[in-house]
């Protein structure tokens, strides 16, 4: 959808992921989309170098989210939200509706 604008399909997936979940780490994104983690890391590095996303270490995991100080964030979010509305329902269900609410430690299900 925005692939030609962003340059490739992976960066679109990464941005939709961050739009849907607010934050994410490379391996988690790679597992969600079933793609190699290297490609995800490369795109995240590109976005971070451009000031569009920021990251921080949480334990051993590098967690990424949209950079709240990116001056065009509101406009980018609005473009992503509009494009996300056109994502087919089955794709939304497969990639962008993973459980995110808390789960008590030790709970069997």
């Amino acid at each position: 959808m925005l692939e030609s604008l962003f340059g490739n399909a992976t960066v679109e997936k990464v941005l939709f992921y961050l739009t849907a979940y607010g934050e994410g780490y490379p391996l988690g994104m790679a597992r969600t989309f079933n793609v190699p983690v290297n490609g995800i890391q490369q795109q995240l590095r590109r976005l971070e170098n451009g000031g569009i996303v920021v990251s921080r270490l949480l334990g051993n995991v590098r967690l990424y989210n949209m950079n709240p100080r990116y001056p065009f964030l509101a406009e980018l979010n609005s473009l992503l939200a509009k494009a996300f509305a056109f994502v087919p329902e089955d794709e939304k269900a497969r990639y962008y509706r993973e459980r995110r609410r808390p789960r008590r430690a030790g709970k069997p299900l």
Binding site: R45, R69, A74
Partner: protein, 187 residues
């Protein structure tokens, strides 16, 4: 002029780099922690200098290599043997929050002149980190700059409201009052 790289100050390095870039027709602006260091006379010491430039990294590579600076592939920061600071080229545009940087300060040094954020924009830049990430260090730095330099508090207040952080401007304003009170009481 001979350069003592091990003892070079942050402002001198900013000037050297800026002059080198200017010589190649490249404009640059110093932002971030280096401005805090300079405006607070090193009460806060930054280990790097953040520049903003619209030039391609390849052009920056070519311009800075005669000074001995190089960068690793994919990175935006340059290092040099024996130099205590590294240099980073932050992605443009030059902005403080949602607002473009409109005014700039120029600082002359023995190695030339460089362009940097004004004290008021430097405070806004630090406050943006405090607003979005609750960064206490950034708040402290904003207070230090406002204490040491003339800043337009009314403009900062208006900007904070436009960014949606009037409540956190209150925290800054309170911290500045306390800090100014402490300064007055010092012998």
């Amino acid at each position: 002029m001979k350069i003592d790289w091990k003892r070079i100050g942050i402002a001198e390095l900013a000037a050297l780099v800026s002059e080198k870039l200017r010589g190649e027709g490249i404009d640059s602006l110093v932002v971030g922690g280096a401005c805090v260091s300079i405006y607070t006379h090193n009460r806060y010491e930054s280990g790097d200098i953040d520049f903003i430039s619209y030039a391609a990294l390849k052009l920056l590579d070519a311009a800075l290599s005669p000074l001995g600076f190089s960068r690793k592939r994919y990175s935006r920061h340059f290092t040099r043997d024996n130099c205590p600071f590294f240099i980073e080229f932050v992605a443009p545009p030059a902005a403080v929050g949602k607002e473009p940087v409109r005014s700039r300060s120029e600082l002359p040094t023995k190695f030339g002149t460089f362009v940097m954020l004004t004290p008021t924009d430097c405070v806004k830049d630090r406050l943006a980190a405090f607003f979005h990430w609750n960064d206490g260090q950034a708040l402290e730095q904003a207070v230090m700059v406002a204490q040491e330099q003339p800043v337009n508090i009314r403009e900062i207040k208006k900007w904070s409201a436009e960014e949606g952080f009037s409540d956190k401007f209150g925290v800054f304003s309170q911290a500045l009052k306390v800090s100014r009170g402490e300064k007055r009481q010092r012998p």
